[in-house]
Amino acid sequence: MSHFYKFTSRLAPLLVNDIDTDQIIPARFLKATDKSGMGDHLFADWRYQSDGRPNPTFSLNQEAYRGAEILLAGDNFGCGSSREHAAWALKAYGFRAIISTSFADIFKNNALKNGLLPIQVSAHVYRFLNEAVERNPRFEVHIDLDEQRISFGEGSSEIFPIDPFSKYCLLHGVDELGYLMKFQEQIENFEATH
C-alpha cells in the first residue's frame, strides 16, 4: 500500500446526499474475480449515457475536474452494500480522498483498507468547499494526514477525525492482516476455552 502523508489537490464535486455503493459501482460490474478495471466502471450509470458515451453533465466528465484527486460528496457517502469494489473503483479512478459530512460504516472501513482517506468535515466546511469549487473549479485543498488537517482558502483549516489505528496503518504502510497474524497464540488460547 502506498504511504500517505500530505498532498494538495483540486476537488471533484458530487454534491448528492446518501450516495450508495450501487451508484459508485453498479452490481453488474461485480462479476469480476480480480480487482482490475474497476476505475472504468466508477459511477457508471451517472457517468455514461445509454449509448456508452460520457454524460457531459456529470461532473467527473467535465474538463475542469479532470485530475482532481479528492471527491467532495454529500452526507452519508457509501451507504448500502458492503462491496469493497466501491473503494477499489474510486482508488483505481485516481481518488486519494473523499470529503463528506459523514460516511457509512462499512464503506469507511473498506476505504481505509485501500489507502483511500475518508475525510469527515463539519457542515460549515462542507458548504464552504461547495461554494468555493462552484466559484472556482481550480480551487485546491491541502491534506495533512499526520496532523489530521484539511487546509483551504486563506489560512482556513479544520481537524478531521480518524481512528488512531487506521491513521497509523496509513502513515506507516502497516498491513492489517500482518498485525492480526501476530496474535496467533492469543487466538489459539482463546479458541481453547471458547
Binding site: 462479476k31 458492503s82 462491496r83 469493497e84 469494489h85 489505528f165 491513521k167
Partner: protein, 488 residues
C-alpha cells in the same frame, strides 16, 4: 507495539460497561469475543461463523493464496452461491460467462481450502442469509460475518452479525478474527399490536422513514418491545435484515422461546444435553435490567399502516395512503435536492398519491422476504386471483429448502395458476446480476430491501413493500392498499 501519537483527536467511543455493570446483549456478545484489546487499537474480535458467497470472496481467497496461508477454521466457514446464479432451469449451463467464471472460482476455492460449499446442485443452497438460519448454523450469542451487508439478518437470533468488506473476509479466512471497534448501542423499542394488513416489513420501512438511511450509523440496533416479542423468527429476520438500510452495523433481538422453537432439531443446532446447556446459556444473553444504551428510538406498531417507498433509498417511504412529499416543503437544501433527484428518477410528482399507479413487475423474493411464511402469506392472498395483464410477476424462493416446502404445500401451483413465474432460489431481481432484471423505466413493486437507482436493472424503478402489498399490486396491476382486498 504500535506507538500512537498523543495528539490524535478522536471521538472516544463509549467505553464498555464493566463485566459487573448491567449490560446489553450487544455488550455481552462483544465482551465474550474479544481476544485481544491493545490500547488505542481496535479489538481483535473472534468470529464464530463466516459465511461466504461468490461475489465478495474471490479476491480474498486470492489474497491468502498469495501469502501462502490456509483458511484457519474451515469448520467455521460456510460458502454458497446466490448472487449471480440463474433462477431458471439449474441443469442448463450458465449463459453469462463472467457469472460462470465466478461460480467456478468459488467451487475451486472451496475445494482447495476445504470449505463446505452448498453449490449449484446442493439441495440446501440458497440465499446466504436464508440458509444460515435454516440449517441451524446461525445461533444465539455468536459473532457472524459475511462479505455482505445484509448479514444483519442473523441478528434475529441474538447473534452479533454484520457485513464486512473483502479485505476483512481475507482477515477472517486467515485468522478467524477481525479488527473491530466496539459499536455504539441503540435500543429500538417497538410496542403495540399490528393491524390487519400490516407486517414486519412495514415496521422496518416505517422505522427507516423515521430515521433515514444514515440514522443508525455507528450503532447496533437492539429491537425490543411487545411488537417484536410477538413476531415469528422469520418476521424478526425481515426486521434485522434491513437494519443496514438505516446505516446500523447490525440489528439484534434477544433470543426467547420463538428462537429456541425455531432452532431445535435443525441440522447444525446443538443436540441432546448440549442443547439444554445451550438454551440455558442463550437465555442469559438478554439485556440486563438497567443496562444503558447510547441512544434510543421508539415506534408504535399499532399506529402503523402498510408502507411503500416512493424514492431512491429505503428511507424514502410513506404509509400507502399518504402522498409523495413535496421538495419545496423540505427545509434543508441538500435534502431538498436529494428528494427532487429521487422524484425525477422515479417519474413522480410532489403531492401525488401512489394508489392507482400502474406498475410493470412484481418481485417476491430476496433475503428480506423470501422465506416460507412470506410465500404462504402471499399465496393465501393470491388464491383465486390472476396476475393483472400488464404485470410480470416473479416469485423466487429464498432457498431450495423453502422451494421444496412451498411446493409440498402447493403454493407454487397457486402462483403459477395466477400467472406468476415460479423460480429456483437465489438473489435474482433483488440485485439483478443474473439477468432477472427490470428494463429501463419499468416500475416494480418489490419485497426486497433496496430501491437505489438501477438496483433492479439499469433505469428500473422500485417501490419497496411487503409481500401482501406486492400481491395486491400484482393482481390489480396498480399500487393498491392491501387492506381493501383483505376486507373482501
Amino acid at each position: 507495539m504500535i506507538n500512537i501519537r498523543a495528539e490524535v483527536k478522536q471521538e472516544k467511543s463509549n467505553q464498555a460497561n464493566s463485566m459487573t455493570n448491567p449490560r446489553t446483549i450487544i455488550d455481552k456478545v462483544w465482551d465474550s469475543h474479544v481476544v485481544v484489546q491493545e490500547p488505542d487499537c481496535p479489538a481483535v474480535l473472534y468470529i464464530d461463523l463466516h459465511l461466504i458467497h461468490e461475489v465478495t470472496s474471490p479476491q480474498a481467497f486470492e489474497g491468502i493464496r498469495k501469502r501462502g496461508l490456509k483458511v484457519r477454521r474451515p469448520d467455521k466457514t460456510v460458502a454458497t452461491m446466490d448472487h449471480s446464479i440463474p433462477t431458471l432451469d439449474p441443469s442448463l449451463p450458465i449463459a453469462d460467462a463472467q457469472a460462470a467464471q465466478q461460480i467456478a472460482q468459488l467451487e475451486k476455492n472451496a475445494a482447495e481450502f476445504g470449505v463446505r460449499l452448498y453449490g449449484m446442485r446442493s439441495p440446501n443452497r440458497g440465499i446466504v442469509h436464508v440458509i444460515g438460519p435454516e440449517l441451524g448454523l446461525t445461533q444465539p450469542g455468536m459473532t457472524i460475518v459475511c462479505g455482505d451487508s445484509h448479514t444483519s439478518t442473523h441478528g434475529a437470533f441474538g447473534a452479533l452479525a454484520f457485513g464486512i468488506g473483502t479485505s476483512e473476509v481475507e482477515h477472517v479466512l486467515a485468522t478467524q478474527c477481525l479488527l473491530q471497534r466496539k459499536p455504539k448501542t441503540c435500543e429500538v423499542r417497538i410496542d403495540g399490536r399490528l393491524s390487519p394488513g400490516v407486517t414486519a416489513k412495514d415496521i422496518i420501512l416505517a422505522l427507516l422513514a423515521k430515521i433515514g438511511v444514515g440514522g443508525g450509523t455507528g450503532h447496533v440496533f437492539e429491537y425490543t418491545g411487545s411488537a417484536i416479542r410477538a413476531l415469528s423468527m422469520e418476521e424478526r429476520m425481515t426486521i434485522c435484515n434491513m437494519s443496514i438500510e438505516g446505516g446500523a452495523r447490525a440489528g439484534i433481538i434477544a433470543p426467547d422461546d420463538h428462537t429456541f422453537e425455531y432452532l431445535v432439531g435443525r441440522e447444525f443446532a446443538p443436540k441432546g444435553d448440549d442443547w439444554d446447556a445451550s438454551v440455558q446459556r442463550w437465555k442469559a444473553l438478554a439485556t440486563d435490567e438497567g443496562a444503558r444504551y447510547d441512544k434510543s428510538i421508539s415506534l408504535d406498531a399499532s399506529a402503523l399502516q402498510p408502507m411503500i417507498t416512493f424514492g431512491t433509498n429505503p428511507g424514502m417511504g410513506i404509509p400507502i395512503t399518504s402522498r409523495v412529499p413535496d421538495p419545496n416543503k423540505v427545509g434543508d437544501s441538500s435534502q431538498k435536492l436529494a428528494l427532487e433527484k429521487a422524484l425525477r428518477y422515479m417519474g413522480l410528482q410532489p403531492g401525488e398519491s401512489l394508489l392507482g399507479k400502474q406498475i410493470d413487475v412484481v418481485f417476491i423474493g430476496s433475503c428480506t422476504n423470501s422465506r416460507l411464511s412470506d410465500l404462504r402469506t402471499a399465496a393465501r392472498l393470491m388464491k383465486g386471483w390472476k396476475v393483472a395483464p400488464n404485470v410480470r410477476m416473479l416469485v423466487v424462493p429464498g432457498s431450495q429448502q423453502v422451494k421444496r416446502q412451498a411446493e409440498a404445500e402447493g403454493l407454487h401451483t397457486i402462483f403459477k395458476e395466477a400467472g406468476a413465474e415460479w423460480r429456483e432460489s437465489g438473489c435474482s431481481m433483488c440485485i439483478a446480476m443474473n439477468g432477472d432484471q427490470l428494463s429501463p423505466g419499468q416500475y416494480a413493486v418489490s419485497t426486497s430491501n433496496r430501491n437505489f437507482e438501477g438496483r433492479q436493472g439499469k433505469g428500473g424503478r422500485t417501490f419497496l413493500a411487503s409481500p401482501l402489498t406486492a400481491v395486491a399490486a400484482a393482481v390489480t396491476g396498480v399500487i393498491t392498499d392491501v387492506r381493501a382486498l383483505l376486507e373482501d
